[in-house]
Symmetry: C2
Subunit: 84 residues, 2 copies
């Protein structure tokens, strides 16, 4: 649970999640929306992956990132329990 809150505490990472909510994207596609280097982006994606918020799958030369929807529903439940 800690890794999830830590992951969400950075604005860039929350923006990445918002992008992936719309559709799966390669690192390069995601990168267009940010002003950080590829290395930094890769770091953020790694943190999101470790928190189980996204999954990654290689598609040839590219790597496609997706929201891990089932974990998101788990988190919603936890939040609900936590806040209500």
């Amino acid at each position: 649970m800690d890794s999830v809150f830590k992951a969400l505490s950075d604005k860039n990472r929350r923006d990445i999640l918002s992008l992936l909510k719309k559709k799966d994207m390669t690192v390069g596609e995601i990168k267009k929306h940010f002003k950080i280097t590829g290395a930094s982006l890769s770091h953020h994606l790694d943190i999101l992956k470790r928190a189980n918020l996204v999954t990654a799958e290689r598609d040839g030369q590219f790597i496609k990132y997706s929201l891990n929807v089932s974990v998101f529903e788990e988190i919603m439940k936890l939040f609900y329990k936590f806040f209500k």
Copy 2:
């Protein structure tokens, strides 16, 4: 919004919120549940206060902290929009 996620990213602070969910508490009462110094606790309470997650009111010699319930409902809505 950033200050809220930042505030929630620390386990001690989430535990403070869980305590305050049950009842209002003075700093001294809260302190009994943690192994940190009063200064550190005061720092955490300040972060929660700035994020609008708690409110503080002096009651004589003591200061009583409470969950800011209305803001919590706002946050639940935002989370819901963010995750669904």
